[in-house]
């Protein structure tokens, strides 16, 4: 069977490297999951978050814009977070048109990258979608994330750590 999945180790902040990958595989779709994503880390060291989440997304957008000129069947899908909307009031929900109100360097950097993606659509006509989801999870996820952390702690009969009084809500 012909191989149809390839792994490339590259930094999304490296414009030249991303450009090479686009050319090599004739990329027509980007699913941008790459991000610094741990809120606590962003509080102690926000620089990496600004660099990766904002500049990295900018790089990907620029390469896409350069490579997709005149192409119809292309898509830039940007994975964001519900945290760009800030805290939620009881009984309320986030909607696509809810105002952005990021509360941490992490969510501010993601909000910024969302705005860049939107701007590339409005300014250059790039075909884009953005999803703002809560707590992505899946196999082999780093155990600092909420769901694997809770599962591992339950398996080891440890306490389940929550922020504040545990009354925080998600949409």
């Amino acid at each position: 069977m012909e191989r149809d999945n390839f792994f490339e180790k590259a930094d999304i902040c490296d414009f030249g490297e991303i450009k090479k990958i686009f050319k090599k595989y004739d990329i027509d779709t980007v699913l941008n999951f790459a991000a610094e994503s741990h809120v606590d880390r962003s509080i102690f060291g926000p620089k990496d978050f600004v660099q990766t989440n904002i500049m990295g997304t900018f790089n990907l957008l620029e390469v896409a814009r350069e490579n997709w000129k005149g192409r119809e069947y292309v898509l830039f899908h940007h994975i964001s977070t519900d945290e760009v909307y800030g805290s939620i009031e009881e009984g309320c929900y986030f909607y696509e048109d809810t105002a952005y109100k990021p509360n941490s360097p992490y969510s501010a950097s993601k909000a910024s990258s969302d705005h860049l993606v939107r701007a590339y659509h409005k300014t250059y006509g790039l075909s884009v979608t953005v999803s703002n989801c809560s707590n992505n999870y899946g196999p082999y996820q780093f155990p600092e994330k909420l769901i694997p952390l809770m599962i591992l702690n339950i398996l080891e009969e440890k306490n389940l750590p929550v922020y504040g009084d545990g009354g925080n809500m998600r949409d």
Binding site: A34, V128, S131
Partner: protein, 38 residues
């Protein structure tokens, strides 16, 4: 349109990219500038 998106670059997060996530993303026609609710 969906059938013609063939060469997909998935950046980062590969460990959390499930078939379910992909199917949600691509089960909806990707309109220009649309925001997806997942």
């Amino acid at each position: 349109m969906l059938k013609k998106l063939e060469n997909i670059l998935v950046t980062g997060g590969g460990q959390v990219l499930s078939a379910q996530t992909l199917s949600i993303i691509f089960s909806r026609t990707p309109l220009l500038g649309e925001r997806l609710s997942m």
